[in-house]
Structure formats: C-alpha cells, structure tokens
Symmetry: C2
Subunit: 205 residues, 2 copies
DNA sequence: ATTTGACTTTTACACAAAAAAAGTCAGAAA
DNA sequence: TTTCTGACTTTTTTTGTGTAAAAGTCAAAT
C-alpha cells in the first residue's frame, strides 16, 4: 500500500503538472488528467481528496524544485553578490519552465484552495528568507557587509523582489519571455543597487 | 469663448472628480455628472468629445496636484533622505485623498482611454524622475551620495516604488487605510535601505 | 456660441437554460 | 483488503437572451 500508493500519487502529480503547465488550472479538468495516465476520474479521487489537494501536491513539488535550486545557488556562491544574483537566475529559469503555473501562483485561481496564502507558499517564503539571512550573515562575518538586521533586511529584500513579480503575475495573459527577462533583469539591478548602496563612504562611521 | 469655456471645463472636471472619488469610474454616468452641475448631457458633450476626454482632464488635474506636492517636498528638503521620505508622504496623503481614483489609476478601467499607459501617467513619471534625478545630483554635489548614474538610479527607484503600488492597485476591492499605510511605510523602508546601502565602507574605494 | 429634447447605438446586467466539471457511491476487479 | 470504475448527483461555468442603462448624435432652439 505505501510504496504503490506513493508511486501512483507521484504519477498523478506529474500528469497534473504537465497539464497545468500548458493550460490554466481552471481550464484543466480532473477527467483530462486521469485520462492522460489511463485511469478513471474516481481512481484519481481515491488518491486525492479533491482538486485542491492535488493542486497542493503539485505546488509542493514545484516549490521544492525552486527551493533546491535556491539552496544550491547559495551554497556554491563565492560572494554575497554572486549568491543573490544566482538566486535570481534560478528563479528566472524555473519561472520559465513552469511558466503558466508560476504565473498563476498567487492568483485567485490557486487561492481558492485556502483563502489565505497557501501554506506551501508561506513555507517557501520562510525558507527563502532564512537562506538569504544566512548569506547576509556570512557577508557580515566576512566584513563585506555592514552589520544590518539580517531578519529585517532579508524580509525587505524578498518583499521588494516579490513586488516586481506581482506585476507580471496579476496579468491575465500569459507573460511573454521578454517580459520575464525584463522582470528578472530588473530584480538584479535592484539587488546590485542595494548592495552597492548610495551613501558616500567618506561620510560613514 | 475662451474664458467662459475654460471655466465651464473646470466646473465639469471638478464635478467629475467628486463623482469619481466616491464611485468607480464605470459606475458613474455622464448624466449624473451633468445633473450635478445643472446642465444636460449634450452640453457636457459640447465641452468634451467623449467620456475618455473627460477622464483625461480629470487625471491631468489630479496628477498635477501630485506633482506640485512632489516639487514642494523636494524643494524644501534639507537632505536627500528627507526629500525622498517627504515625497513618499505626499504620495500617501494624495493617494488617500483620491483613494478610489488613485487606485483605479492603471487599472483596466482607465486604460480603455488608450490601450497603452495614458500620456498623463507617462508625463507624470518623467517629471517625477527628473525631480528625483535633481535631488540625487544635489546629493552627489554635496558629497553625501556616491556618484551614481542618476538617470538609471532614479528610474530604478521609481520602478521599485511603483512595483509596491501595483499590488494595491490590482486589487478589485477598495484598499483599506491600514493597507495604504503599510504600503507607503514599506516604500520608506526600501528607500532607507537603499540610501544606507549594505556594503561595508571599509572595503570601498 | 451654447444648450437641450428626442433620438440611435453600444454596453452592462440579470436571469435562465445548457454544458461541463466536481464530487459520490455501490459494487466489481485484483 | 486495496484499488478501481460505471453510473449517478451536485456544483460550477458557460452561454444565450432580453432588458435596462449608459454613451453618443443631431436637428432645432436659445
């Protein structure tokens, strides 16, 4: 039961990801997903309580892929700058890979699951923030960064980057590749502006 | 003709602003506006080609009020920090004053006028950017800021602040006061983070 | 030059019927 | 017992249609 069930679970989730990456969530029926892998709709309901549960499993899988990318970007980074810039590159790559799904991420569609931001997203945010915090801490230890409040700073940084993403996610049409690139290029610029700072060093301390 | 016409123009625009500030643009009819000032709808059409033209005049008037606020904030500022922070305060105040209208600013409703960002908004952006550029230049001259590309920096700054505003403007419901405050407080935080910068001064130059 | 009553055209809205998708369940298959 | 499905009910979405309201026009009056 355990092994077999989880294999099937995974199979269904993968089929759902394929569908959701090509068509909007609300335009994809469970029947279609079931047929894709040659099972009946009631079978699908045997493994998932409802569409929301499936969607949550889908989200969790993709979010994990994002997070793994983030971790490897941060861990291999030789500097704070490199870490943050690589982090944005990972986002860009994964965003393009799961284009439709990613751009529906905090839309009304996915929020039907739970009226608040779904757990998956909240957890991902927290994890991401903690990764960025660690990076900043390292920078401070190495005397590359001024000693700021890493908690506050990492949160503000995330919120700033997210703010840029909201623009593209709130559109009803599927974002074009060049817009996605513009978005993440902009994020890089902001990060660099932040890191470099504006205040003249002469007047510091 | 000249004087009388422009007086009437203004009168109509003011009536329209009153209506638009209380009800959504699409829920306000030209008949209502006309009746408010005791004229007939065809009279209104004598002064404005169509609803879009009236909306444009309304936008222009309000945008000018914003811009005047910005100019006075920047001109009376004793430092770059104070200038930018006051600038955000002016936005907060005017945003609340024209709550409904401001939050519809780049929504679908107003974009029916012209499919691209209306001229008024573009011009306001340019003017704002030029004001911020001047402030940055002054800061550089006074050796308070590092000599950055003011054009690029002011644009990026505006885009960052705008990104935060998108979130609140894309909502269908009227933004609550506490959310507006949260938004502009966040903008202040970002500005301060930017001004302070993260890089340790020890390693500069 | 300015204004309006009476008019036409366009758009928005409410409501119902139809279609599609979500979800259930008794019972079959493995 | 676990897994699966055909046939079913319920809920949601879509579509169509008539109606109301708003946008916009125009000939004629002031």
């Amino acid at each position: 039961m355990k092994a077999a069930e989880s294999v099937k679970h995974e199979h269904i989730v993968d089929a759902a990801i394929k569908r959701f990456s090509h068509f909007r969530i609300n335009k994809t029926s469970l029947t279609e997903i079931a047929e894709d892998i040659g099972i009946s709709k009631p079978s699908l309901f045997y493994y998932f309580q409802d569409k929301s549960s499936l969607l949550e499993a889908v989200s969790r899988k993709i979010v994990n892929e994002f997070l793994e990318g983030f971790e490897s970007a941060f861990s291999s980074a030789k500097s704070v700058d490199e870490g943050l810039l690589d982090f944005i590159e990972v986002k860009r790559r994964h965003f393009k890979k799961y284009l439709l799904l990613a751009s529906q991420a905090d839309s009304v569609e996915i929020n039907k699951v739970s009226s608040q931001l779904p757990d998956v997203i909240i957890q991902a945010r927290e994890k991401t923030q903690s990764l960025i915090s660690d990076l900043l801490k390292k920078g401070i230890q190495q005397k590359v960064l001024t000693s700021v409040d890493v908690g506050k700073t990492s949160l503000l940084l995330i919120e700033t980057l997210e703010a840029f993403e909201h623009g593209i996610k709130s559109k009803t049409t599927v974002p074009e590749s060049k817009n996605i690139d513009a978005l993440f290029d902009k994020q890089k610029e902001v990060v660099q502006m932040l890191l470099n700072g504006l205040k003249s060093s002469q007047w510091k301390n």
